[in-house]
Symmetry: C2
Subunit: 290 residues, 2 copies
């Protein structure tokens, strides 16, 4: 299940992140960055979704970056970022109590670290926050793909691939199949990894597998209004739920046009200030392939 995805969070820390990303891009002439701002309905006709930038055949595009160790000494070539309480992640200040002992928390940067953390004033434990993996299936069946119309918020009534949060105790492939079962009632075979798409602004990473139906017995689960196989030229690009799904389906169609499905790694950077519902307001950065 994926009950609360892609709600854009914003904190002072994200400003720093944004600066780091900008710096990275400036020094990275060889990584690809594509903006999806067109309102055209069919991605196969999108002028901004150029196949040259999205599915370059170059096998070894590189991403350059000069991270900064948070210490008094810097190595040559590094680019110091001041150690500052503004470097926070997500909603760490909302963590006011220790979930293990119930003590109140203080918000500080621990020794040897660089980010603001919630630290228990009683037992001293740190409540780390880490990105979550969203796992799902791109199900192919006779030149069609299976989509689900969401019956929950956010993006109620919009179309998505079956996907949801990975649980502790399962692999990503198992999680993707479980979500497919829960949302589409479909039993599938995972065929191969297709994409990893990070969305740093909201602390999510999408891991999408290509999959095949084991039979045609599929039906919407409680979180779906409808499940349907769409021909490739009928995919409802104007009614998709999330940027990640928009990118995944576009990469898939681009690969099909080129005659070969590949694995894609990329970062979806939402346009600052854009609405979460504006799923085309982003750039796909650092699009890398094996």
């Amino acid at each position: 299940m994926l009950k609360a995805v892609q709600i854009l969070g914003c904190s002072s820390g994200l400003t720093i992140v944004s600066q780091r990303l900008t710096k990275t891009r400036k020094s990275s002439s060889s990584s690809s960055s594509v903006s999806f701002l067109s309102t055209s309905t069919n991605p196969l006709k999108l002028s901004t979704f150029s196949s040259s930038s999205l599915t370059s055949t170059s096998p070894r595009k590189t991403l350059c970056f000069s991270p900064t160790r948070m210490s008094s000494s810097s190595l040559p070539g590094s680019d110091p970022v001041p150690k500052s309480p503004t470097f926070v992640s997500g909603d760490v200040r909302k963590i006011k109590f220790c979930q293990w002992c119930g003590g109140t928390t203080k918000h500080e940067i621990p020794d040897g670290e660089e980010k603001l953390r919630a630290i228990c004033t009683h037992c001293g434990k740190i409540a780390y926050q880490n990105p979550k993996m969203v796992v799902g299936c791109l199900i192919e069946h006779e030149d069609k793909v299976l989509l689900c119309k969401r019956n929950i918020q956010p993006s109620h009534g919009l179309w998505t691939l079956p996907a949801g949060y990975l649980e502790v105790g399962e692999s990503a492939a198992e999680g993707a199949m479980r979500e497919t079962w829960e949302e589409a009632g479909a039993t599938v075979e995972v065929v191969s990894p297709f994409a990893q798409l990070d969305i740093p602004l909201i602390g999510q990473t999408y891991v999408i597998f290509l999959a095949k139906l084991k039979n045609l017995d599929f039906a919407p689960g409680p979180e779906s209004l409808e499940c349907r196989l769409f021909a490739l030229d009928e995919i409802p690009f104007d009614s998709l739920a999330f940027s990640s799904i928009y990118v995944t389906l576009n990469l898939y169609l681009e690969d099909l046009k080129k005659g070969k499905l590949k694995f894609h790694y990329g970062t979806i950077n939402k346009r600052p200030g854009s609405s979460p519902s504006d799923i085309r307001a982003f750039s796909l950065d650092y699009h890398l392939q094996p």
Copy 2:
């Protein structure tokens, strides 16, 4: 940084997970599963690390699975698992307080869900637990790879790739470069995704990128005793820190032998009852490639 990885947790829920995995394997004749139990020092000579099973050239191996929706009705072909409080994940029972309001928690399976959760008795919020991503770099330089000798527990004094937990606000590639900077003082270019290796038992997913040094200025950070470039036939396979690193380096060498680096997805299932320090006591399951 990666201060506490691969400590094997165990709960009643893992029993269920294990059963599911066994079931999956039985029905999945086409997925690859390899056991690494040899004590040979050089993986290039390991009889159990067969290139045919690890690096099959078949582009579309499949993973079959019949997940079970936790409801009274089951679709044909599904394999019901009873809705039971034993189906817990990780250490949910250790969460005794709500981190947002400080209320005490109860441990129940919420309506519409299937796993035991910690639910606040005051505000009603659920404390979800999700797997964490460990991101790192496999750095190639003139037919050598860069390894770090750990200066922290677990696996103090053993060799690893620079890697650590992904933080909210960064992409996996950025996190891998940050960890490389923190642990090896090295500035690198990420070249391509190389592997995603899930370890369900401990709720971790390794995401490893191939990378290149931008210069030769590297030096151990506080969490490393030493950083060194190893020739491929000198990689210290008897002194590696984690199963995930063992698998990654083996897959890399196998790919090199075949003349082509590929992307690898796989699940590392630790042998039940084995010590965390026995890094060869596992099977690599569901090894899939694009």
